[in-house]
Each structure stands twice: as structure tokens, then as C-alpha cells.
């Protein structure tokens, strides 16, 4: 079953249920429908789910997040040291995956904001918008157009070209 969203991050606004002030003697149809639904569907599903949970409690086991040691980067490798290149490449790939997940999470947050606020998300959720913009800009400048065959080496070359362009721009402005 997919997890529910993190309730601390996407906070629902506090609900304001009015105090019941019945003026009629007739029963409330919403309550009747609610009770019907509860007894026909909700109870069955909940009991089944609890039975399944009890079966699962008998053999519990855990999974962990893997911690990888940091190895020297590709810039810290000697020329021609192919082992160092390989380890740096693997580390770069892991970092790429992590960055993809980070961008995904920022996108999800923005999407949740937009869903809740509707069209007023631009003012109400400026913080999330800023975060996403910053993250997306950084991601684009670092991993942007590397393509399917991206590697640590090509990323380094991309950085080199970026720095050359910055230098040229700084010289031309000065």
C-alpha cells in the first residue's frame, strides 16, 4: 500500500465544524448515509486490514538505507588512475540518483501546494516556489543536457565550459 503523505509538511488547514443546531425533527440524511457506508464497507475493510496487520506482526523484519563511504572525486584522481576514475564515476552516479530524488520531492511539494491553494499558490507558497526554482536551476546547470550517456567526466567538462564562459563574461563586462 502506498504511504500516506507526510502530514507535517503538507499541513491541512484546521477544520471548522460548526456546532450542531438542529431546528427540524427529521433525521439528517448525511448521517444515515454515513452510517450505512460505515457498516457496509468501512467495518469490513478495517477488520480485514487489522487481521492482515496481526498476521504480519508475527514476523517483523527491517530494511535500512545504505550508507556509502565518500571516495575521492574525479578531480582528486591522478591522471591514468583508472580505479580511482571508476570509484569516482560510481559515486557520481549515486549522487545523480539522489539529486533526481531531491528534485522529485520538490516537485511533489509544489504540486501539493498547487492542488490545495488552487490559483493562489503563487503568493501563498512563495517559499516552496523559491526552493523549487533554486533546485531546478542548480540541477539544470549541473546535470542538464548530459543525456543518456552522462558520466562524471562529461559533467566535469560541462563545469569547465561553464567556468570558461563565466570568465569570458566577467572579462567582457569588466
Amino acid at each position: 500500500m502506498p504511504d500516506d503523505w507526510d502530514k507535517d509538511i503538507y499541513q491541512q488547514p484546521a477544520s471548522r465544524t460548526p456546532a450542531v443546531d438542529k431546528k427540524t425533527g427529521l433525521p439528517n440524511p448525511a448521517v444515515i448515509v454515513g452510517k450505512l457506508f460505515y457498516y457496509s464497507v468501512n467495518l469490513l475493510v478495517t477488520t480485514f486490514r487489522e487481521w492482515v496487520e496481526r498476521q504480519r506482526q508475527k514476523n517483523k523484519f527491517y530494511y535500512y538505507h545504505q550508507h556509502f563511504r565518500r571516495v575521492p572525486d574525479i578531480t582528486d584522481c591522478q591522471f591514468g588512475d583508472y580505479l580511482c576514475y571508476y570509484e569516482a564515476e560510481m559515486q557520481w552516479r549515486r549522487d545523480y540518483k539522489v539529486d533526481q530524488e531531491i528534485i522529485g520531492i520538490l516537485q511533489e511539494r509544489l504540486r501539493a501546494c498547487q492542488q490545495r491553494e488552487g490559483n493562489s499558490y503563487v503568493q501563498n507558497r512563495a517559499k516552496e516556489l523559491e526552493q523549487f526554482k533554486l533546485g531546478a536551476k542548480g540541477y539544470q546547470s549541473r546535470y542538464g543536457d548530459l543525456g543518456a550517456y552522462g558520466s562524471a567526466r562529461r559533467c566535469l567538462m560541462k563545469q569547465k565550459h561553464r567556468m570558461i564562459e563565466e570568465r569570458v563574461k566577467a572579462v567582457s563586462e569588466a
Binding site: V52, Q55, K60, Y82
Partner: protein, 186 residues
Amino acid sequence: MAVLSVLRAAAALVVRRSPHKLQHLAGNNLLRAFPIASKVAVRLGSNGKQMFAIKSSQYYDRRFLHLLRFYILLTGIPMAALITFVNIFIGEAELAEIPEDYVPEHWEYFKHPITRWISKYVYDPPEKSYEKMMALISIETEKVDLRQKHLEVRRLMRERGDGAWYQYETLDKNLIDNSQKTNPDY
């Protein structure tokens, strides 16, 4: 067999033509299956004429679908049962912090129990493939190194001439006859 069926067809034709006489004549063995057409009670549900609807054969289509269902469900049902039981009775793992001084096995990084089982019993640990790749790279690095050194050594030995290679045997200088050098050329 073909002869018999021709015989039966001929007998049916004859019986339909002259029902009474032949039933008593032939010993009922061959003609038993054919009721006399005028004496059979025909029950019509509606008051309509009986029609013979000419359709194409559905035998092959039905056979195909039957076999398709059979072969899909042959492994499908056990697999579905297995996956249901695993999901209900074993359930997925929970995320936990790695305890102190504990190095988890490589299958303990997965959530679903079937993935864990596959990782434990079928696949090699990722550390093993990493190390295998590193071993191949180091072998290739050594090969590159040695080949470079080989070329360099060849170049230097050829250049300097004091090595083990590029030594060419020349004649012994005592074998040279220098007697004609005493007379000038004119």
C-alpha cells in the same frame, strides 16, 4: 473405415426411401440408428419453420482461447497465490535506523520480501560485482602499463644499443683481408 461410412450412408438413403420392408429384412444392426422420418415426433417451440443457420466453424477459435486460458493459468494461479500469501502473511519490511556496530547484509536494504529473497538467493551482492569490475580494471591498467613500458624499452634499446635486444651479429674483424689496402687505387 471409409467403406463402412459409405455403406452406412447408402443404407440410410435406402431406409428413408422404403422404411418398412428393410427394417425387418436387415438385422437392425446397421439400420438401428435411423428413425423413420414420418413417425418421429417433431416438437417446435415456436410456430416457425426450423432453420439451419450457416455459420463458420468456431472450433478453432474456442480451442485457441481454451488453450490460452489453460497455459496462462497453469503458472498464473500458483504465482498469484504465492504473491497473495507472501503479501498477507509476511508483509513488507519497515524502515529502521542502522543499529550501532551492525553491518546489514546486502539483502536487508530492500523492502518487499520477494525482492529480498531474490537478492539473497539469486543475485550476487553488489559489492561482489563492484570488486569484479575493479579487478578487471586493474588487470587492464597493468596491461596498459606493461605495454607502454615494452614500447619504451624497445625504443631505448634501439637507440642506445647497449641492451639485450637489437644486437646484430657482424663479422669478426680478424677475418677481413686488408691486404689490398696496402696498394693505392691509381
